[in-house]
């Protein structure tokens, strides 16, 4: 304990990444001592398996959602509709693989019986079209918020509620089962590591490049902190918000595709259910301020997403029944709220300054 420690400490604690990383390390430390074999990795057919890999795989959709949600929250808004947009994207993807339930007559109705791998639309379109539709959903939210000046919470609630209905309509309220293995690769594939992890990494990198290698990140933060000053400085704040919500919809689309692919079913009622809350929680854990917006950290949000998944996986491994997991999440929320309060922040920073004062007294 010396002055240089105090200095490093204050630098460390001021970083937005301090709390999310600390939280992740704490959970992993708990696993190390409380759950034997938590960190064991197995190599099967050249692919890695294990609890840590499960965290990365199951956490991927949340991380992806959190990327778009970060930008939306940074502009001072919120998007409650991402779960519903996931459902829409998955319904669209499934109906494009197998449109028979819409009553559409195929040239040969026996196609699916002869070849379960058959897909009505080419697979690239099965990916691209749902993503375009999801982006349009996000754009709709952005229109309501930026041009019609509707409160983000209310504006996105519209699609949150209507979205699942739309998703049901698309598939005639029927769960379409996917036999196509190539499509299932999105959520089930492995290249040493789970394939969805690569998608999450790609989305993270795209979001980072898009915001930090252009001026968009600065404008998003500026609009979130003070939209009037931003407007007076020549920033088109409406367009920035429209962009953030559109990107958020796009991310929700990707997460939706992964989710249907993982369970090989379009389930408009279950896909993405309550994921908007996970995404928001991930962003908040990552240090972006909910409600006021402003400074954001994509890496923080990504780690935040992993913190949530790590908690869930750890609790399941520890023996907590799956039905009680929501209660565990509630505890996480309470801890996060307490840790991010001004008093707690002061206390954490205070640890360093106490050392510094103690040193000076000596």
């Amino acid at each position: 304990m010396n002055v240089s420690f105090a200095r490093t400490w204050s630098k460390l604690t001021e970083s937005m990444l301090f709390l999310p990383i600390a939280a992740l390390l704490m959970i992993l430390a708990f696993d190390l001592f409380a759950i034997p074999g938590f960190f064991r990795l197995e190599l099967k057919d050249g692919h890695l398996f294990g609890s840590v890999i499960d965290i990365l795989r199951n956490g991927s959709p949340t991380v992806i959602l959190a990327m778009g949600m970060t930008l939306v929250i940074a502009t001072g808004g919120v998007d409650l509709s991402v779960g519903a947009v996931m459902a829409i994207a998955s319904s669209v993807a499934c109906i494009m693989i197998n449109p028979t339930i819409t009553g559409m007559a195929l040239t040969d109705p026996g196609l699916f019986l002869k070849d379960p791998q058959y897909s009505w639309a080419p697979l690239w379109m099965v990916i691209v079209v749902p993503l375009i539709i999801a982006s349009l959903c996000g754009m709709w939210n952005g229109m309501l918020v930026s041009y019609w000046r509707i409160q983000p919470m209310v504006a996105t609630l519209v699609l949150m509620i209507a979205g699942r209905g739309i998703a049901q309509l698309v598939t005639n309220a029927i769960k379409i089962i996917i036999f196509n293995d190539t499509y299932a690769y999105l959520g089930n594939g492995w290249i040493i590591l789970p394939f969805s992890l690569y998608i999450a990494t790609a989305v993270f990198l795209t979001a980072w490049l898009l915001t930090r290698r252009t001026a968009i990140g600065l404008f998003v933060e500026s609009v979130g902190i003070n939209f009037r000053s931003s407007y007076y400085s020549g920033i088109n704040e409406r367009r920035i918000k429209l962009f953030a919500y559109t990107f958020c919809g796009f991310c929700a689309g990707i997460a939706g595709l992964i989710a249907t692919s993982a369970i090989r079913t379009s389930d408009a009622n279950q896909i993405g259910l309550y994921t908007e809350l996970d995404a928001i929680l991930a962003v908040v854990i990552g240090g972006t301020l909910m409600g006021t917006g402003g400074r954001f950290s994509l890496l923080g949000s990504a780690i935040g997403g992993l913190v949530i998944q790590a908690t869930i996986t750890s609790m399941l491994s520890f023996g907590v029944p799956a039905s009680a997991i929501t209660a565990v999440k509630a505890v996480v929320v309470i801890v996060v709220i307490l840790l991010y309060s001004e008093q707690a922040q002061k206390f954490i920073r205070g640890v360093g300054s106490v050392t510094m004062r103690g040193e000076a007294a000596r």
Binding site: S222, N226, S230, Y231, Y232, S233, G234, I235
Partner: protein, 507 residues
């Protein structure tokens, strides 16, 4: 001097500093029983700070307050109310969905044995208290059903009823009232005055000062200019006192200015022809030239900021045309203006200027980056170069370019905002109150900067409520009054003429 028989409130040697601003400096203020005392001064003069200290919102750093001969120090608005000092604010802060009676007596409602509210007594007492103000209305109706004036009366009634007020402070009470309603308010004020209540009346309508007040206290830049019997002070003199004519070290600037006037371009850069906007500013003509500083003088609310907003495209004129580079402007938005080379340093630094949580560097490059668009990002290294250049040029005092702007003093924040616009390299720079609330040294720096910018061939519009500042920096002066352009002075500027133009009469 203080006379405890006559004076109910005596404030002596009041001093108050906020980070970066000396809001009040050794101010004395006394209020006599049964008088209406007007408190006037431009924005940032210290009126509201003085009132906040008297009503316990802020605590003075130095100085004493006596009430009825007793030394007091109000800790909170509630405490001040208990002492007998009540305030009615500009915006009525009552609940429009409750009845008038409930609003007046909430917290003091008469009850049956302390359990249930005695509605009959409540309504009767409320009706009575409104009648004392000569207003006879149905107090069981929701407050929101009545006009702003009646709502204000209810606020006054509440102030009188719940605290037995001896001192009543009315903060800009007439700003949202019609002429008729204002007269009604004045009637009530005179009645209360007759009952021995002392009233502090804050307003920026000078005719109302003359209509209703007995004495007037003038503040300027946080110092007391003086207290005068209203009847003995001419309107012109009052304006002179409010705007000030403090001669400082800067008068060599006048010579400098005369010299620089040779650089003014003949051809105009921007030409506003009969431009106006309903409910904002009456149609006006204005031509701006490269190398020239045009000052806009006038009192608060005279239409100065409205002109700036039209020229910068915040507002779209509904009549007339603005021509720049021989092309009429069609696209009115800050973004389009910046592309044309127009910049506005806005009046309200906190709300329209700074982006508090961003660093000094990011604040400086913001407008330049906005002009370049989303995808042509200014490199980090270049950002530091630009920031460091302006930190040096404007001697902005900040530890590093990465400091958050909210941690800087007001004057330095203002310099950062100036730097933001200088970095965008505009041809026309509009400065709306660029020196408000900042110290004298920085003011001088900014004034000098404006002149040197003009010398470099930029066209500047300089808006200020301090007349000496406008006189010192401007080659040409436009005078505004009551949301209209009154006249324009150029060449040898006649200070007295300008004041008369601002006042609107020769008296």
């Amino acid at each position: 001097m203080p006379d405890s028989d006559r004076d109910i409130v005596v404030m002596t040697g009041i001093d108050k500093s906020f980070p970066g601003v000396h809001a009040l400096e050794n101010v004395d203020f006394s209020l006599a029983r049964g008088e209406i005392h007007a408190l006037v001064g431009e924005n940032g003069a210290g009126k509201s700070t003085l009132i906040k200290i008297l009503t316990g919102v802020d605590r003075a750093d130095k100085g004493t307050i006596t009430l009825d001969g007793q030394s007091v120090s109000p800790r909170s608005p509630l405490h001040a109310q208990e002492l007998g000092i009540s305030t009615v604010y500009q915006e009525v802060n009552l609940c429009p969905n409750l009845t008038v009676a409930e609003n007046i007596l909430i917290g003091r409602q008469p009850s049956h044995f302390g359990v249930s509210i005695d509605w009959k007594a409540l309504n009767a007492r409320a009706r009575e208290s409104m009648k004392e103000l000569d207003i006879d209305i149905d107090v069981t109706q929701p407050l929101g059903a009545y006009s702003v004036a009646i709502q204000q009366m209810a606020a006054i009634a509440r102030a009188l009823v719940i605290s037995n007020a001896k001192v009543l402070i009315l903060d800009e009470p007439t700003s949202s009232l019609t002429t008729h309603e204002t007269l009604q308010l004045f009637k009530v004020m005179r009645k209360l005055k007759g009952e021995g209540i002392a009233i502090v009346f804050i307003t920026h309508f000078l005719n109302q000062v003359y209509e209703v007040s007995d004495r007037v206290t003038v503040l300027r830049n946080g110092t007391l200019v003086g207290t005068y019997p209203t009847a003995s002070l001419s309107r012109l003199e009052l304006i002179r006192l409010m705007l000030g004519r403090t001669i400082t070290v800067l008068d060599d600037m006048t010579a400098h200015k005369m010299e620089s006037s040779h650089h003014i371009a003949v051809e105009s850069l921007l030409e506003a022809d009969d431009v106006g906007l309903a409910n904002s500013v009456e149609p006006f003509d204005l031509s701006l030239h490269a190398g020239e500083v045009v000052g806009i003088a006038g009192l608060l609310g005279s239409g100065r900021t409205e002109i700036a907003n039209l020229l910068f495209g915040i507002d779209r004129p509904d009549i007339g045309s603005i021509v720049m580079d021989h092309k009429p402007i069609k696209d009115f938005s800050p973004h389009a203006s910046i592309a044309r080379g127009v910049a506005l340093c806005p009046e309200d630094r906190k709300v329209e200027g700074i982006v508090a949580d961003l660093s000094v560097r990011e604040n400086i490059i913001l407008a330049l980056q906005a002009g370049q668009g989303w995808f042509r990002r200014i490199g980090t290294k270049e950002q530091y170069e630009i920031a460091d250049k302006y930190i040096k040029l404007l001697s902005i005092s900040t530890p590093t370019a990465d400091q958050k702007i909210k941690n800087l003093s007001g004057g330095n924040q203002q310099k950062v905002i100036l730097a933001r616009w200088l970095a965008a390299n505009p041809r026309l720079l509009i400065l709306d109150e660029p020196t408000r609330g900042i110290d004298v040294g920085t003011k001088a720096d900014i004034q000098k900067l404006v002149l040197s910018l003009a010398e470099e061939g930029k066209s500047c519009v300089f808006i200020s409520s301090e007349l000496d500042e406008v006189l010192r920096t401007s080659h040409r002066i436009v005078v505004m009054r009551d949301r209209a352009k009154v006249t324009e002075f150029s060449g040898q500027v006649d200070e007295k003429g300008i004041m008369q133009a601002i006042a609107g009469s020769a008296s």
